[in-house]
């Protein structure tokens, strides 16, 4: 639960109001100037309707240098950020040839596979030479190699489901599977903070979409009861099928899903459960098997498990794991399988090797070490930040920790100050998050050493004092030590 100081809420609304008012003024004058100057549209309609790109033009472009920073090396714990400058107040940014070596707190590099790895990279290079970078064909035509079948078997074994299917892109996995699984006459109930890929897939399916309050099983039950009682809109016939979509770790909150309660409710009302484990697979759980293992939920109770390989496995692509009949049906009907190019062979080999390392099948205990390291790192970092007085969201054991900023001016201040001190953070604002709740999102990796984390904490504490985001009082530990020292003197 996010607790905001009341004064901060008021000042944030006022700041956004001011930004909005200035944007409207500038648009008004721009309209006058443009009416003066002839436009070259010649009767064609403009590409953007008047209001659509207002946010991009008047708010986002002002702080554009905090987003989309190009990097010049692999996204390991330390990486090279290319410096940029602007001559027209951030409307266009030009790259320089200078790079600065920064601590990477923004990449989803949970297990440290993002950079060159001693087990995975030689094997990936071997498969690149053997299979070439792309299969140049869809899975059903000529795009299924031995690597693809091995990958699907290993993924099914890893998440402990009977069978799995793999796609080339994580976003497409959600947005192309949901229209195939459910159509008009079905009901999708999704968490209010689900990812854009799920929202797009649900809208594209044609089913009725209802939203339940984030991570609140009681509200889910209320919505389910209401919808089952009412039936389909207008005809009031019973729903053809009901799917409840939740995520394992919510990437903007760092919270774990309340999976046991939600699965119990879905069993009671006979709804299917679709679990999106994009951020939790490979990063949580004793052996890295995701949020089901962490919370003790039997994987046979979750009907469809989806995940991506971008975060913990250092590759690209997504998978769906489920029963044999479900995967067989998907192989006949899903457009991402029938028409889209299959996952690149070196990427598939990277995932296979990463899974082998995590499970310890490569003969070393590096997998278990990485998992222990990321758990330790996340818990240490989160508790230290909370002790300093920051408002940090997320549950324990989750490697994603958003630090709340709230005011729109603090977003570029925090980002730029941290970059000046060689720490690269990712800041997120409206419309990816609600208007009030802008945040800086830190992703901890197993590749971060203790010294890296201590340095990051120092920098963040300094910048936090400068920018003024320590909304909670700091823990009184240090004050007591000071008092003791004064007494001794």
């Amino acid at each position: 639960m996010i607790t905001i100081p009341y004064l901060t809420a008021l000042t944030t609304y006022f700041s956004y109001g001011l930004l909005f008012a200035f944007g409207q003024f500038r648009d008004f004058f721009r309209k006058i100037f443009d009416w003066w100057r002839a436009n070259n549209l010649q009767g064609y309609a403009p590409i953007c309707l008047g209001l659509e790109d207002f946010y991009t033009r008047r708010l986002y472009l002002r702080i554009q240098d905090c987003f989309g920073r190009p990097i010049a090396s692999a996204p390991d714990a330390w990486f090279d950020v290319v410096e940029r400058y602007s001559n027209d107040n951030n409307k266009t940014l030009k790259r320089t040839t200078n790079i600065s070596r920064c601590l990477n707190l923004g990449s989803y590099n949970y297990l440290g596979f993002a950079a060159s790895d001693e087990y995975c990279t030689p094997r990936v290079i071997k498969s690149l030479k053997r299979f070439s970078p792309s299969t140049c064909s869809a899975r059903v035509d000529g795009g299924t190699t031995t690597l693809h079948t091995e990958l699907e078997e290993r993924v099914a074994n890893f998440v402990q489901k009977p069978s799995a299917i793999v796609f080339g892109m994580g976003y497409v996995t959600n947005s192309a599977i949901l229209p195939v699984l459910i159509g008009k006459g079905g009901l999708i109930i999704s968490d209010s903070l689900n990812h854009n890929s799920i929202v797009n897939g649900a809208r594209g399916s044609g089913a009725t979409v209802r939203v339940f309050q984030h991570n609140t099983p009681l509200h889910l039950e209320k919505v389910l009861r209401e919808q089952i009682a009412e039936g389909q809109p207008r005809t009031h016939r019973p729903w053809k099928k009901i799917i409840v979509i939740v995520e394992g770790i919510y990437s903007m909150e760092g919270e774990l899903c309340k999976l046991p309660e939600i699965v119990a409710i879905c069993k009671k009302y006979k709804a299917y459960v679709y679990l999106d484990e994009a951020h939790s697979i490979g990063a949580v759980g004793k052996s890295g098997r995701g949020v089901c293992e962490l919370l003790g939920v039997d994987t046979a109770d979750v009907d469809i498990m989806m995940g991506t390989f971008t975060k913990s496995f250092g590759s690209c692509g997504g998978y769906i794991a489920g029963s044999k009949e479900l995967i067989q049906y998907l192989k006949y009907s899903c457009p991402a399988h029938l028409y889209a190019t299959s996952i690149s062979p070196p990427a598939a080999q990277q995932i296979i090797s990463a899974i082998k390392v995590i499970l310890g099948e490569d003969g070393t205990s590096r997998g278990a070490e990485k998992l222990a390291q990321i758990r330790e790192n996340s818990n240490f970092f989160r508790s230290e930040l909370q002790k300093m007085g920051f408002e940090v969201l997320g549950d324990n054991d989750s490697p994603v920790m958003p630090i709340m900023l709230y005011n729109p001016a603090k977003i570029p201040a925090f980002s730029r100050e941290c970059l000046m001190q060689k720490v690269a953070v990712v800041t997120v604002a409206f419309p990816a998050t609600p208007l009030l709740l802008a945040r800086a999102r830190i992703c901890i990796s197993a590749a971060h050493t203790k010294e890296d984390l201590v340095k990051a904490l120092e920098v963040i504490s300094q910048v936090g004092d400068l920018v003024g985001i320590k909304y909670f009082p700091a823990e009184p530990e240090k004050q007591e030590q000071l008092k003791e020292m004064i007494k001794m003197d």
Partner: protein
């Protein structure tokens, strides 16, 4: 003093910010401070200042709530392009707490403005027209109604 921010179930990012705590207070504070600013800039009587605040409030809220359609970002693929902000809030549900509050504010401003000007013409006429237009625009029956084709779609 802290408040809890419960994430609402509204998917429309253009309007869900209105359900968070602190919005009503900010609205009232902005109106009050603009009265102080008008008083100090124009050096007029308090009644005239309230009239000016009321009329500019009418212009601003009519433009933002009942004239501009759609959302200021392109993420939602234009499903709200035919709806004004007033028609979008609370997912189109009528007579919610937010809507009742927003209907009451122009009426209260009208009462303050007409009381402090002692109900003199011509201020009374303009104030009455403003509050009449605003309150009628917020009726549940006016949901998605475009009178005489004004502000209808392209």
């Amino acid at each position: 003093m802290y408040v809890r921010a419960v994430p609402p179930t509204d998917l429309n990012r253009n309007t869900e910010w209105f359900t968070y705590p602190g919005v009503w207070t900010t609205y009232i504070l902005i109106v009050f401070f603009s009265w102080l600013v008008v008083l100090s800039v124009f050096n007029c009587s308090p009644g005239m200042a309230w009239t000016i605040v009321h009329l500019s409030h009418f212009l601003v809220t009519y433009h933002c709530f009942h004239w501009k359609k759609g959302t200021p970002f392109a993420d939602d693929q234009g499903i709200y392009n035919r709806l004004t902000w007033w028609e979008q809030i609370d997912n189109g549900k009528q007579l919610t707490r937010n809507r009742k509050f927003l209907t009451v504010v122009p009426v209260v401003l009208y009462l303050i403005a007409s009381h402090t000007t002692d109900y003199q013409h011509p201020m009374l006429f303009f104030n009455t027209v403003a509050v009449f237009v605003l309150v009628v625009a917020k009726f549940p029956h006016m949901h998605k109604v475009r009178l005489f084709g004004i502000n209808a779609d392209l």
